[in-house]
């Protein structure tokens, strides 16, 4: 299978693997995908009161491109505002990693993970 060098780099040296405390009101957790489809991403964002993403962690079950997409996304959103992070698109991720057409769904999933994590954070804020 032909992987781009960027995918290989992220796969071999994934950035920000790990977990944040789910219960922390500053942490939004997005869990997207399904084991039956062969990929699941968990993305966690720690967002401060100014709406800036201070930290991002991921864990991914999926192929090399899925792992690379999630790793890349954590590096992209760190330091960004929530509003900026919401603008990150799958096309950007796919372009950056030079994903072939059959792997575009990995970048879509990564975009969904950002949106899900932010939605979770917002829900916590409104509830809390």
């Amino acid at each position: 299978m032909g992987y781009s060098q960027k995918v290989i780099d992220h796969y071999e040296n994934p950035q920000n693997v790990g977990s944040l405390d789910k219960a922390d009101p500053m942490v939004g957790t997005g869990l997207v995908g399904a084991p039956a489809c062969g990929d699941v991403m968990k993305l966690q964002l720690k967002i401060n009161d100014d709406g800036i993403i201070e930290d991002a962690k991921f864990k991914t079950f999926g192929c090399g491109s899925a792992i690379a997409s999630s790793s890349l996304v954590t590096t992209m959103v760190k330091g960004k505002s929530v509003v900026e992070a919401e603008q990150v698109s799958n096309a950007e991720i796919a372009r950056e990693l030079a994903l072939p057409p059959v792997k575009i769904h990995c970048s879509v999933l990564a975009e969904d993970a950002i949106k899900a994590a932010i939605a979770d954070y917002r829900q916590k804020r409104t509830e809390g």
């Binding site: 796969y11 997207v32 864990k59 079950f61």
Partner: protein, 409 residues
């Protein structure tokens, strides 16, 4: 142990095997020195080639307990399967148009069946149990008055599961239907006796038994019952009219030599050495890692095959991590269809687990040092990928993955 390993290690012997150097040596003279057409009856070039083909035919026949006249050379097992199914079904079409096969067969069988369905034949696809085995009662029940042919593979190419061939042969004979068997995966590893097993048609391929690619054979029984097949390739009437085309002498010589070596290896314990390596691989892995699941029966399995699901680690990511080992995965990501292996699905393996399956095929040229290297590398990578797996984390936290509402995409 300090000897240099040649990387990547070749652990994909169910996909193909290298040509044994003794096979290569046997073939080479037939490319330039003895290049005659075996069908040329008028000169020495032709005679030499014809004698070589005759020897090879004998070697192939003895591997499976057949007579040389019962061997038809083809371009490989894909063609042999096509010839057996279409050839026999069409020849017997006036007697009946029903065929029985199994859902886990190789695509060359399944797609030949689909082609026959388009011609008006009816096909019953037997299910397999969770071990990958068919039920003999289900087979008996599937055979009807208009059934002419049953096709069941000897051993499966993905999971190595070996069907009860002699029992199937007996059932077919009792019911007066032909028994075709795709023997490709078993040739180098298990004794095959077409007479004792009551096999009427047997597909073979050289490249799964240390011979060259692009050459195979079909055993077509003579005597009682005499089996006839309608050719699927028309031409000069070679191979007693069943398969036209100039015989590729060097390929056939290679297949013959490979068959001779396979017979020797089976008789002299060479196979046991490969089984010991396969077992060493499995024992090493399960000593280091939890949640490994063997796909298919362990008891009824080729000695060289290990198909295992590494739970919570997706197959393609795994293959990328162990690129120093050439093997294959049943994960959707590695197939053109984006569907996980239909064979694993037929066994009822959870889709989740199917995505995490890896097939290792050990072979004649692997060593203990290679297996030990593989165990170490796989262990390291599985631990690395599980650390990265949200599923593994959830299970560690005591969450039942089945209780989660996943967002299918």
């Amino acid at each position: 142990m300090t000897t240099e390993l040649k990387l990547p290690l070749y652990f994909d012997n169910n996909a193909t095997t290298p040509c044994d150097p003794r096979v290569v040596d046997a073939m080479v003279p037939y490319l330039f020195e003895h290049y005659g057409n075996p069908a040329s009856r008028a000169h020495a070039y032709g005679w030499v080639a014809r004698d070589a083909v005759a020897t090879a035919r004998q070697q192939v026949a003895s591997l499976i307990g057949a007579q040389p006249k019962e061997i038809v050379f083809t371009s490989g097992a894909t063609e042999s399967n096509n010839l057996a199914l279409k050839g026999a079904a069409r020849y017997l079409a006036r007697k009946g148009k029903h065929i029985v096969t199994v859902s886990t067969e190789h695509k060359a069988i399944l797609d030949s069946c689909h082609a026959l369905e388009r011609e008006g034949f009816e096909v019953t696809y037997l299910e397999v149990d969770s071990e990958g085995l068919i039920s003999l009662d289900a087979l008996r029940a599937a055979i009807r008055d208009d059934t002419t042919l049953v096709s069941v593979m000897f051993a499966n190419n993905e999971i190595g599961v070996v069907q009860p061939i002699a029992e199937i042969g007996a059932i077919c004979r009792e019911n007066g239907v032909l028994f075709h068997c795709d023997g490709v995966q078993a040739l180098a590893w298990m004794p095959i006796d077409v007479r004792a097993m009551k096999i009427d048609l047997l597909s073979m391929s050289a490249h799964k038994m240390y011979g060259p690619k692009g050459i195979g054979a079909l055993f077509v029984r003579r005597g009682r019952p005499r089996v006839r097949v309608q050719p699927i390739i028309d031409g000069g009437g070679h191979e007693r009219g069943m398969r036209s085309g100039t015989l590729p002498t060097h390929q056939i010589v290679g297949m013959g030599k490979a068959a001779e070596l396979a017979a020797e290896s089976i008789a002299s314990g060479g196979v046991d050495k490969v089984r010991a390596l396969r077992d060493r691989l499995w024992d090493g892995l399960r000593a280091n890692l939890d949640e490994l699941y063997i796909n298919g029966s362990w008891e009824h399995r080729l000695p060289n095959n290990l198909n295992v699901s590494f739970a919570y680690v997706e197959g393609e990511a795994m293959m990328m991590g162990i690129k120093e080992i050439a093997c294959s995965s049943g994960s959707a990501c590695t197939s053109a269809s984006l569907e996980p292996s239909y064979v694993l699905r037929a066994l009822g393996v959870d889709v989740e687990l199917a995505h995490t399956s890896i097939r290792f095929g050990l072979g004649r040229f692997n060593t203990e040092a290679e297996v030990d290297y593989a165990v170490e590398l796989i262990t390291r990578k599985v631990r690395f990928l599980r650390e990265m797996s949200p599923l593994y984390e959830m299970v560690q936290e005591g969450i039942d993955l089945k209780s989660i509402q996943w967002t299918a995409h």
